[in-house]
C-alpha cells in the first residue's frame, strides 16, 4: 500500500526544514505585519512601507528563483525566458487592478486611462472577465501555464535542449517584450499598468493590504518550497534528475522524457506567474521591461549564486543578489553592472555549487571525513549538471523508480 500523500509531503522535508519554515512563517506572518501595520510609525521597531514593499518584492523573486531551480537545477533546462512567465502573471493580475480603478482614473472613464488616451471605445475581447477576482486568479496561473505548455511541447518534442533551448527562450521573451511595447497590443504599451487603487475594494496602499500581500508572498514561497521538495524527492523527481544527467539512457529504459520535462516546465511557469501576480500590487507597476532578456538571465544568476539543485540555495541567492542590488543602486549606481557582471563570472568559475556548496565544503573540511553527511535541508541527489556528468551513482538508483509510468 502506498503512503498517503500528506504523509509523503510531510516526510519529504526533513525536520530541520520544517523548523526553519515555522520560524520563517512566524517572522513573515506575525512579526513583519505587526511591525508594519500595528506599531506606530515612531516606534523603533516599525517597518516602513518602503521596506515592506522591498522585502515583499524580494519574496516574489525568491519564488521565481525556486521555480527556476526546479527546472534548471533538477531538469537541467536553463530557461532564459522565465521573466516572460513572471510578467504574464503580473499582467494578468494587472488587468484586474486596472479594472478596479474604475472611474477614479484621470479621465473618469470606465476604460483604463491608456485606452481612453488611444481613443478606444470598448475593451478588447481578451479583457473579458478581467473585472472578476476569481477569473483573474485563474488567468494568473493559466496564461503563463498555457504559453509554457505550448512552447515546451514543441521544444521538448523535437528534443531541443542545452544552449539551443536557452537561446530560444531568450528570443521568446524578447519577442514578447516587443509585442507588449506596442500600444495596439492593448496592455498599455511602453508604460504598462500603473496607478493601481484597490483590490477587492480595499485600498492597495493601506498598511493592512501591504502586510497581507507580504504574508501571502511568504506563504506562496513556503508552499513552493514544500511542493518543490516533495516533487524532487518523489519518484517523479528521480526520473527527472536521471533525464538531466543521461537523457538517452533514460529513454532507452523506456521513459518518455517529454512528459517529465513538460510537467516541470509548465509548473515552473505557473509558479512564476503566481509570483508575478503578487509582485505587481506590491511594486505598483508592470511594464514590458520586465520581459527584457536581461531580467530573465538575472534570475539564472540568483540560482547560480545560491547553488543549483538545492531549492534553499535559490532562495538564498535571490535574497543575496537583490539586497546587494538595492544597496548598490542606491550607493554606487554606475558600478552595479560591473558587480553583476563579475558576479556572473566569479560564480561560474569559482563557486559552481553556489553559496550552499561553499557552506557544505566549509562544513566538510573541519570534519575531515571523506564522506561527510549532507546538510539536512539538501537532498544528496541535488547535484548540478556539471558535477553529475558521467556519474556512476545514477544507474544504481534507477531500478528504484522503474515502476513509474513512462
Amino acid at each position: 500500500m502506498r503512503t498517503p500523500l500528506t504523509l509523503r509531503i510531510l516526510h519529504s522535508t526533513p525536520r530541520a526544514g520544517w523548523i526553519a519554515l515555522a520560524v520563517f512563517a512566524a517572522i513573515t506572518w506575525i512579526a513583519v505585519p505587526v511591525a508594519h501595520a500595528v506599531l506606530a510609525e515612531a516606534h523603533p521597531l516599525h517597518l516602513s512601507a518602503y521596506s515592506v514593499s522591498l522585502l515583499g518584492k524580494i519574496l516574489c523573486y525568491m519564488v521565481v528563483a525556486v521555480a527556476m531551480d526546479l527546472i534548471w537545477g533538477y531538469a537541467g533546462i536553463l530557461s532564459l525566458g522565465h521573466g516572460l512567465f513572471f510578467a504574464l502573471g503580473g499582467y494578468a493580475f494587472g488587468m484586474y487592478l486596472m479594472r478596479q480603478i474604475g472611474r477614479d482614473g484621470s479621465y473618469q472613464s470606465d476604460l483604463p486611462d491608456f485606452m481612453v488616451f488611444l481613443d478606444w471605445k470598448e475593451l478588447p475581447w481578451y479583457w473579458a472577465g478581467s473585472d472578476s477576482f476569481l477569473g483573474t486568479l485563474l488567468l494568473v496561473g493559466a496564461v503563463p501555464g498555457l504559453v509554457a505548455f505550448a512552447f515546451g511541447w514543441f521544444a521538448f518534442r523535437s528534443r531541443i535542449k542545452g544552449v539551443y533551448f536557452s537561446i530560444i527562450t531568450q528570443a521568446l521573451t524578447y519577442a514578447a517584450m516587443l509585442l507588449f511595447f506596442r500600444n495596439e497590443t492593448g496592455f498599455g504599451g511602453n508604460n504598462g499598468f500603473t496607478d493601481f487603487k484597490r483590490i477587492l475594494g480595499y485600498s492597495i496602499t493601506s498598511p493592512e493590504m501591504r502586510a497581507t500581500l507580504f504574508a501571502l508572498s511568504a506563504a506562496l514561497l513556503m508552499a513552493c518550497l514544500v511542493l518543490g521538495r516533495y516533487l524532487v524527492t518523489s519518484r517523479f523527481g528521480r526520473v527527472l534528475a536521471a533525464i538531466r544527467d543521461a537523457e538517452s539512457r533514460v529513454m532507452f529504459i523506456g521513459y518518455n522524457p517529454l512528459h517529465y520535462k513538460l510537467f516541470m516546465w509548465t509548473l515552473s511557469a505557473v509558479l512564476c506567474g503566481l509570483a508575478g501576480a503578487l509582485y505587481v500590487p506590491q511594486v505598483g507597476i508592470i511594464n514590458p521591461s520586465e520581459m527584457s532578456p536581461a531580467n530573465s538571465i538575472e534570475i539564472a544568476v540568483w540560482v547560480a549564486v545560491g547553488g543549483r539543485g538545492t531549492l534553499v540555495g535559490a532562495v538564498l541567492g535571490a535574497g543575496i543578489v537583490n539586497l546587494a542590488k538595492s544597496w548598490f543602486t542606491m550607493s554606487f549606481p554606475e558600478y552595479w553592472p560591473f558587480f553583476l557582471g563579475f558576479l556572473f563570472i566569479a560564480v561560474t568559475l569559482y563557486l559552481p555549487d553556489g553559496v550552499v556548496g561553499l557552506w557544505r565544503r566549509l562544513r566538510a573540511r573541519p570534519a575531515a571525513a571523506p564522506d561527510a553527511p549532507p546538510v539536512p535541508t539538501v537532498h544528496r541527489d541535488a547535484r548540478p549538471v556539471s558535477a553529475a556528468r558521467s556519474s556512476a551513482k545514477d544507474p544504481a538508483e534507477l531500478p528504484a523508480v522503474k515502476g513509474a509510468e513512462a
Binding site: 544552449v163 537561446i167 528570443a171 521568446l172 538571465i297 563570472i345 568559475l349
Partner: protein, 536 residues
C-alpha cells in the same frame, strides 16, 4: 500624302535658323523690348532670353542678377560704373547712369531668372550641369519652354537627360490643345516612374460633373495605360529596394554570425558577449576616425579602410582575453559559459559607457560612401549599404579561404567535427581554440565596423544582435559556412519583406515562430552534418 516642296523647305530653313541662330547672333533690340513693358512681359522676356541662349543673353541675365540692368527711353540698357551700354549689343550710349531706371529683382523675377539660367545651362558641356538644369526645368515647365526642350532633345546624346527632357516636354504637351499632341504626351509619360507624373495622368481620368477632364477617349485610354505602366515600374523598384535592404540586413547578420559560427562550432559555447565584440569593433572604428581627424585630415575619407585591421585586432584581443581568462576554464559546461559570457557582456557594455560616455558617438560616412543609386522616386540604394554587402562578401571569401586552404582552418574543422579524435591525432586543440576564438571575435569586430557605417554606435549597440546571430547559426547548421550564408541572407530578406507587410515587431515575432517551427522539422539546420558526429 503630298507636301508642297516649298513649304517643306521653308519649314526646314526655319528650324535650322532656330537651331543655329543663338550660337552666333547678337540679340536684336526687339527681343529685349519686353523689358521696358509691364511686369508680366518682363518675366516673359527674361525666360525667352534663356530659351534663346547665347553669350549676349547670358550677359544680360548676369547684369539683371547684379542689379545693373535697366531701362532708359524704352531701351534696355546696362549700367557699367558711370557709363551706360545698350543691353542688346554692348555699344556705348551717351546716357548718364542716373537717368537709367534699374529693374528690381523680386522673387518672381528671381524665379524667371532661375528658369532662364537653367535653360542656358542645357547647352553646357558638363553632363551633371545639363542633368540638373533639365530637372529644374522639368519641375516648372510651361508652354514657352517647349521649343527649348525640342532643341535640346535634338542635340542631347545622354539617355538620362533625354528621358528627363522628353518627359518634361510631354508634361507640357499634356495640356496642349491638339489631341494628337496630348496622345503622344500621355504615351511618352508612361516611361516615367515618378508618382507625381502618375497623379498628373490620373487627373485626366476624372470627371467634372458629367464631363471628362480629358475629352478625347483615345487620350484617356493612353493615360490609363501609362498609369499602369508607371505603377508596375514603381512596384518593381520597390521590390528591388526591399530585396536590397534584405540583402544588406543579411550581410550584417552574416558578419555577426560568421564569427559566432566559428566559436560555437569549435568550442560548443555560445558567446553571449559576441554582440559586444561588434561594439568593440565599432568603437575601434570611432577611435581610428578620431586619429585621422587629428593627424591626417586630408585622408579622413579613408579612415574606414584603416579601421579594418584596427577593428579586427581590437575585437580579436578582447576575444582572446575572454577565452583565456574565462571560457577555457568552463570547458564542457555550456550553460555556465552562457552565464559567464553574459556577465562579460555586462562588464563590456558598462566599460564602454564609462570610457566613451552613455551617448552614441558620432561616426561620419566617408564621402565615397554617401549618396546612392536612385531606382525610382523614393527608392534609393545607398552606397554605404552597397559597400557593406561587398565587404561581407570579401570577409566571407577570406574566411572560406582560411577554413578550406590553411592548416589552421583544417584544424578548426577537425576540432569542430570531433574534438577528442582531433586531439588524438595531434591537433593542438587548446591552441586551436584560442586562435579560432581570436578569428571569430575579429570577424565580429569587422561586423561592428560595417554596422558603424549604417547604425548608431553606442554601448548597447551589439546586444540586439546576439539572438539574431545565433538564429542564423542554428538555421544554417553548426560549423557550416554555406549554411550560415543562406540562413543570413534568407532571414534578412524574409524579415524585410515581412516588415513591409506587417510592421517591424510582428515581422520579428513571425521570424522567430518560423525558426521554432523550422527547428522542429530540421533540428540540425539547413545543412545538417551527416555521420556519427552529427549526434552530439
Amino acid at each position: 500624302m503630298r507636301l508642297p516642296l516649298p513649304r517643306l523647305l521653308c519649314a526646314c530653313a526655319l528650324v535650322l535658323a532656330f537651331l543655329v541662330a543663338p550660337a552666333r547672333a547678337a540679340l536684336d533690340e526687339a527681343s529685349l523690348a519686353g523689358l521696358a513693358g509691364d511686369f508680366q512681359s518682363r518675366l516673359d522676356t527674361i525666360e525667352a532670353l534663356g530659351v534663346a541662349g547665347g553669350e549676349d543673353a547670358r550677359r544680360v541675365l548676369d547684369a539683371l542678377e547684379a542689379g545693373a540692368l535697366g531701362v532708359a527711353g524704352g531701351r534696355a540698357v546696362i549700367v557699367q560704373g558711370e557709363s551706360v551700354v545698350a543691353a542688346a549689343n554692348g555699344e556705348a550710349l551717351a546716357l548718364a547712369a542716373s537717368a537709367v531706371e534699374t529693374l528690381t529683382v523680386n522673387n518672381r523675377v528671381r524665379r524667371a531668372l532661375g528658369t532662364a539660367r537653367a535653360a542656358l545651362a542645357l547647352a553646357s558641356a558638363d553632363r551633371g550641369e545639363r542633368l540638373a538644369a533639365a530637372r529644374t526645368l522639368a519641375d516648372n515647365a510651361g508652354q514657352s519652354l517647349l521649343p527649348l526642350f525640342e532643341r535640346a532633345l535634338a542635340n542631347e546624346a545622354d539617355d538620362e537627360i533625354r528621358g528627363v527632357l522628353a518627359r518634361a516636354a510631354a508634361r507640357v504637351n499634356l495640356s496642349s490643345a491638339d489631341p494628337a499632341q496630348r496622345l503622344k504626351a500621355a504615351r511618352a509619360l508612361g516611361e516615367s516612374s515618378d508618382p507625381a507624373v502618375k497623379a498628373l495622368l490620373a487627373a485626366l481620368l476624372e470627371k467634372q460633373g458629367d464631363v471628362w477632364v480629358e475629352p478625347n477617349g483615345e487620350v484617356r485610354a493612353a493615360a490609363d495605360m501609362a498609369i499602369h505602366a508607371i505603377d508596375r515600374r514603381i512596384a518593381t523598384a520597390e521590390t528591388v529596394g526591399t530585396l536590397f535592404s534584405g540583402l544588406s540586413l543579411g550581410s550584417i547578420l552574416l558578419l555577426a554570425a560568421l564569427g559566432l559560427a566559428i566559436t560555437y562550432g569549435v568550442m560548443g559555447v555560445i558567446n553571449m558577449a559576441h554582440g559586444e565584440l561588434l561594439m568593440v569593433g565599432a568603437y575601434a572604428t570611432f577611435l581610428v576616425q578620431g586619429l585621422f581627424r587629428s593627424y591626417l585630415p586630408a585622408y579622413v575619407d579613408w579612415y574606414v579602410a584603416a579601421a579594418i585591421p584596427a577593428a579586427f585586432l581590437a575585437a580579436a584581443l578582447v576575444g582572446v582575453a575572454m577565452e583565456r581568462l574565462v571560457l577555457r576554464h568552463l570547458y564542457g559546461r555550456p550553460l555556465e559559459s552562457l552565464l559567464a559570457t553574459w556577465g562579460l557582456s555586462l562588464v563590456l557594455i558598462q566599460g564602454a559607457r564609462v570610457v566613451f560616455g552613455p551617448q552614441n558617438v558620432e561616426l561620419a560616412n566617408p564621402a565615397w560612401m554617401s549618396g546612392g543609386i536612385e531606382l525610382a522616386a523614393g527608392v534609393v540604394l545607398p552606397w554605404n549599404r552597397i559597400v557593406i554587402v561587398g565587404f561581407a562578401v570579401f570577409v566571407l571569401l577570406l574566411i572560406w579561404l582560411m577554413m578550406q586552404k590553411t592548416r589552421l582552418g583544417m584544424f578548426v574543422r577537425a576540432v569542430t567535427q570531433n574534438r577528442a579524435m582531433a586531439g588524438c591525432v595531434g591537433v593542438p586543440t587548446a591552441r586551436v581554440d584560442t586562435l579560432a576564438f581570436a578569428i571569430g571575435s575579429g570577424v565580429a569586430g569587422l561586423g561592428g565596423l560595417a554596422l558603424s557605417q549604417i547604425a548608431n554606435v553606442g554601448p548597447a549597440m551589439g546586444s540586439g544582435y546576439i539572438v539574431d546571430a545565433f538564429m542564423v547559426v542554428v538555421l544554417g547548421g553548426v560549423g557550416q559556412l554555406a549554411g550560415a550564408v543562406w540562413a543570413a541572407l534568407g532571414l534578412g530578406i524574409v524579415a524585410k519583406f515581412l516588415e513591409g507587410w506587417a510592421g517591424a515587431v510582428i515581422a520579428k515575432i513571425l521570424v522567430l515562430v518560423f525558426i521554432i517551427v523550422f527547428i522542429q522539422k530540421r533540428p540540425q539546420g539547413i545543412f545538417a552534418l551527416k555521420g556519427r558526429f552529427a549526434d552530439s
